[in-house]
Structure formats: structure tokens, C-alpha cells
């Protein structure tokens, strides 16, 4: 290791990106923090006086409902992702190297394709003349309206975010030695009991970070609810998009954005704390 004292080379190495982030991450958020404290006027971009009205507005019924719906859909999405993602993560973690490679490819490839493309696929599947309704017709049943509903939004969100649940859980299951599973079973535990007493508690940190990722991603989703949701039952991301680009209520959009950032940050710190706590419990036992 070089000592950084004689010539602080690390300053030249880390400086450019630090400066870049300062200008394009910190300052823009400081800018919306400032916008959020100024009143909105339909005719002027900027009014000098200060106000909390933009935050008080969030307590209006419309916004309370908006946030309630957003947080609720986030919770449902996270729950479904656990149910689908946990078995997937377990299988991948315990699969042979070759299958694991194939499984990881098939998990990460869709993750990397633009969300809008995956949503488009679901529109084709769930649409009025889509795959599901064709199947219902073949079975002699009435076609149903699947798109533009909350369930469609949840299907879309789960499909997009489930890899974020699988990968952290998989990483923490891989760290559990196989011998631990075997010895639990040798001592007479059946698979379910072994899972409940060994795998589940030891994979808790991965599960927590997976939940956190999926929840914070789904409560700020835009594309999925915009294309698959009921236009009258919007999520927070859509409201922000509209207030920025359609109604130009920039102070309103700013206060909404900051509220969402704070919710996300609170979640992250809460979960970090919980993970650390869980980790300490592990060491103690």
C-alpha cells in the first residue's frame, strides 16, 4: 500500500468522479430541496418567498391516497417477489456450476433489458386479444379485462424486480456451508425443519437487502404503472412525472420527490440497522 501523504495521488484519482457527482447528484437534489420550499405559481417559474405549502399539500386526501396506494403496491410486489424469488435463489445457490451459470444468465439478461420492453411483452400477453384471453376463449370462457388494473401493475413490477430479490438471497445462501444442511438432516430434521432452522435464519441478511431493493424500486416505479395501470389510480412516480413535465408544478414535484427520497433513505437505514443486528445475533449464537 502506498502512503498517500507525500503526493495525495488519490485526490487526482477520486477527484474527477467526486466532482462529477457533486455537480450532477448533490446540487440537483439541493436544487429541488430549494424548489420545494417556494410557492407554486402557474404563471411564474420562480417566486422568492418561502413556504411549507408544498409539503402540507401532501396531507391532502388525494396525495395521502396516492402515497397509500404506492406503498401498498410496493408491499404486495415485495411479498410476491419473496414467494417467487426465494425458491429460485435457493435452487441457484445449490445448483451445479453449469446450471448456475445458465440460471444466472436467464435471470440477469431480462433484468438488463429495458423495463419498457418487458412491460410491452406483458401488454401483449394480458391485452384484450392477448395470450391469456385467447386461452380463455379456447376454454369457452369470457375474456377478462386484465390490463389497466392494480394486479397488472403488480405482475409487471414483480417481473421486472424479482432478480433484485433473488441475487442477494442467493449470495447469502451460498455462504451457508452445505455441511450444515447435511448435519441438520443427519440429526433427524426433515427438509422443511432444516430449512426453517438453518437456511432461513442464516439467509436473513440477503432476504432483508432483497426486500429493501425491491420495495424502494417499486415505490418509485414509473413505466409499469404508466403503461399497465389504471390512469385514474396512479402511483407516486407518475404524479412526479406529470407535475414536472405536464403541469409544470415544479415546487409540488420537488416536495413529492424529496418525500419519496426520504422514505427510501429511512428504509435503507432501517434495513442496514436490522442487517447489522441480525449479523451480530449470528455471531453470538
Amino acid at each position: 500500500m502506498y502512503s498517500g501523504r507525500a503526493r495525495p495521488i488519490w485526490v487526482f484519482l477520486t477527484g474527477p468522479y467526486a466532482l462529477f457527482l457533486l455537480v450532477l447528484l448533490v446540487v440537483p437534489f439541493a436544487n429541488i430541496a430549494m424548489y420545494s420550499l417556494h410557492p407554486y405559481s402557474p404563471t411564474k417559474v420562480f417566486l422568492p418567498e418561502l413556504t411549507f405549502a408544498n409539503y402540507r399539500k401532501i396531507l391532502d386526501l388525494y396525495y395521502v391516497r396516492l402515497f397509500g396506494r404506492t406503498l401498498r403496491l410496493g408491499l404486495i410486489t415485495t411479498a410476491v417477489c419473496i414467494v417467487l424469488g426465494y425458491p429460485l435463489a435457493y435452487c441457484l445457490a445449490r445448483a451445479r456450476a453449469r446450471w448456475q451459470a445458465i440460471g444466472l444468465f436467464l435471470l440477469i439478461m431480462p433484468l438488463m433489458v429495458s423495463a419498457v420492453i418487458r412491460v410491452f411483452g406483458w401488454i401483449v400477453i394480458l391485452g384484450r386479444k392477448g395470450l391469456v384471453n385467447q386461452a380463455l376463449l379456447v376454454l369457452g370462457l369470457e375474456p377478462v379485462r386484465l390490463l389497466y388494473s392494480e394486479s397488472a401493475v403488480v405482475i409487471g413490477l414483480v417481473n421486472i424486480f424479482v432478480p433484485f430479490m433473488v441475487l442477494p438471497i442467493m449470495a447469502s445462501i451460498e455462504r451457508i456451508p452445505r455441511s450444515l444442511e447435511e448435519s441438520a438432516q443427519n440429526l433427524g430434521a426433515d427438509w422443511y425443519r432444516m430449512f426453517q432452522r438453518v437456511i432461513l435464519p442464516l439467509s436473513l441478511p440477503g432476504l432483508i437487502s432483497g426486500c429493501l431493493l425491491v420495495y424502494s424500486l417499486s415505490i418509485s416505479a414509473f413505466v409499469t404503472p404508466a403503461l399497465m395501470g389504471n390512469p385514474r389510480e396512479r402511483m407516486a412516480g407518475q404524479q412526479i412525472y406529470d407535475e414536472v413535465l405536464v403541469s409544470f408544478n415544479w415546487p409540488g414535484a420537488s416536495s413529492l420527490s424529496l418525500t419519496l427520497v426520504l422514505v427510501t433513505a429511512a428504509l435503507i437505514f432501517g434495513a442496514l440497522f436490522a442487517t447489522r443486528h441480525a449479523g451480530r445475533g449470528e455471531e453470538a449464537s
Binding site: 502506498y2 485526490v11 450532477l24 429495458s114 410491452f120 386479444k129
Partner: protein
């Protein structure tokens, strides 16, 4: 997998994969189908929608002039910025190093739609017109952490004594870096760059805010075409993105660790 695990596990996992991959399969199938009504399964095979894609000025511009250009520039610049940042973080010990590291990975934690809105309002305040450059700057914020992660992982597995040995044999620090460290870091650099390209190429949340009328990226154009009920040209454009990204992911998996994404 151990033989005693529940019998339903494997069918369940296969079903989950089916759901995961279904939208991509459907999009690719629709892009080859003759019907204009997003028919699945398609009755026949045609390249009509790919011809329509290349005949459409808007799609060609969005794909080749905006998304591809911004993606390649973002990959190149993010690799330079990210590699130098990772070197500073891994090879040097200084006060506040961990705080700097957290700060450098912070863009991964900020919801993209909020970053997009914040950047839009920031550009608006500075009266900067939307162009591929405003989009590129936004993408650099979200791409660089992937390079930092990938290069950090490569550097941690690399013995600093190799560089020291080169220096004791008479190379100066710059030579030692370019002749010893950089070639050894090649695969983590390339996968970092590929991730950066993919993140930029498939991004929609920032691009929705930062694309101007002259710089509509492919995902944004697809988004508006879906809203205006376009034809399967959308599917053709999407298929091309899926194939490009699939191939790139395959390369990363070959040369480095794929699971660094999350």
C-alpha cells in the same frame, strides 16, 4: 441440489423462469409475426417489421444516433472515471475513504425517476437545452458505479506487489500501472464497460426527463409508441435490443463475474 429437497421446488422454479422470460419471448415472436395486432402466437414468419424499423426515420435516429452513441460514450467515459475512482479507493488509504466509497455508489440507491426529475429541474434552472449531452451526463451518474464495482472486484484480487515489483525493476508508477496493472485488470474493465453500456442503452427513467425532441432515446421512443398504440415495429426494435444485450451479458459471463450487478 440435495436429493431430499421438496419435489415441487424444481417445477416451481421452472414456472418462475417461464414467467420471467415470457415477455421477452412474446416480444421476439411478435416482431416476426405478420399481424399488425400484436398477435401471439404468430401465424407465419416475416421480416416486415424489421424493414419498417429501418424505414422509420424516428426509430433509426433513436437507435443509432441517440441510444447507441450515448451508450458507447457513456461506457467509455464511465470506464475512465470509474477505473480511476476504483484505483483511488482500493490502492490508497486516506481519511474518510469509506465515506467516499459510499458516496460513489450512492447513485445506485437513488430512485432513477427522482434522479431524472432532479436533473431535469437542474438543467431547467441553468437553462440548458436537452440534447444527447444532457442525457450522457445523466447516464454517467448511473453507469459509473457499475464500473467502480467491477474494477474494485478486479483490483481486490490483484496483488499490489506485482506493481511494486515492476517499480523496483525501474518502471515509474505510471509505467507500472499501464504495463502491469491495466493488462491484468482487462476482464473486469471490459465487463464494467459493458455494464455501463447496457445501463445507458436500456435506461428509460432518466431518458424520459433528459431526452429532447432531437435526442429521443430508443426506450423513450418505444414508450411513446406503446402509448400511441403503434405497430409491431416496436417489437422489432425491442428484439434488436434484447439480442444485443443478451450477447453482451454472455460476454461478461465468459470473462468475469456476472453477479456483480446487484
Amino acid at each position: 441440489m440435495s436429493g431430499q429437497s421438496p419435489r415441487l421446488l424444481l417445477p416451481f422454479v421452472l414456472a418462475a423462469y417461464l414467467g420471467l422470460l415470457a415477455p421477452l419471448v412474446v416480444v421476439i415472436a411478435v416482431s416476426f409475426g405478420p399481424s399488425a395486432a400484436f398477435e401471439f402466437p404468430p401465424h407465419g414468419v416475416t421480416l416486415h417489421w424489421f424493414e419498417a424499423f429501418f424505414a422509420s426515420q424516428a426509430f433509426v435516429t433513436a437507435f443509432f444516433r441517440v441510444s447507441l452513441v450515448v451508450g458507447l460514450l457513456a461506457a467509455a467515459l464511465a470506464t475512465v472515471l470509474g477505473t480511476s475512482a476504483a484505483l483511488g479507493l482500493v490502492r490508497f488509504r486516506f481519511f474518510g475513504r469509506e465515506a467516499v466509497e459510499t458516496f460513489f455508489l450512492a447513485p445506485l440507491l437513488v430512485p432513477e425517476i427522482l434522479l431524472g426529475a432532479a436533473l431535469y429541474l437542474f438543467y431547467a434552472r441553468l437553462a440548458v437545452q436537452a440534447s444527447i449531452w444532457t442525457l450522457l451526463c445523466g447516464h454517467l451518474v448511473i453507469c459509473t458505479p457499475y464500473v467502480i464495482r467491477s474494477v474494485t472486484a478486479g483490483l481486490v484480487g490483484l496483488d499490489p506487489r506485482l506493481e511494486e515489483a515492476a517499480m523496483s525493476l525501474g518502471a515509474n508508477r505510471v509505467q507500472a500501472f499501464f504495463k502491469v496493472t491495466l493488462p491484468l485488470l482487462r476482464s473486469s474493465l471490459v465487463s464494467g464497460a459493458i455494464f455501463a453500456f447496457i445501463i445507458s442503452f436500456s435506461d428509460i427513467n432518466l431518458a424520459l426527463f433528459l431526452s429532447g425532441p432531437q435526442s429521443t432515446s430508443l426506450p423513450v421512443h418505444i414508450f411513446s409508441q406503446i402509448q400511441w398504440q403503434g405497430d409491431p415495429t416496436i417489437a422489432a426494435a425491442s428484439s434488436m435490443q434484447i439480442v444485443i444485450i443478451g450477447l453482451l451479458i454472455l460476454v461478461v459471463q465468459r470473462i468475469f463475474r456476472l453477479r456483480l450487478v446487484v
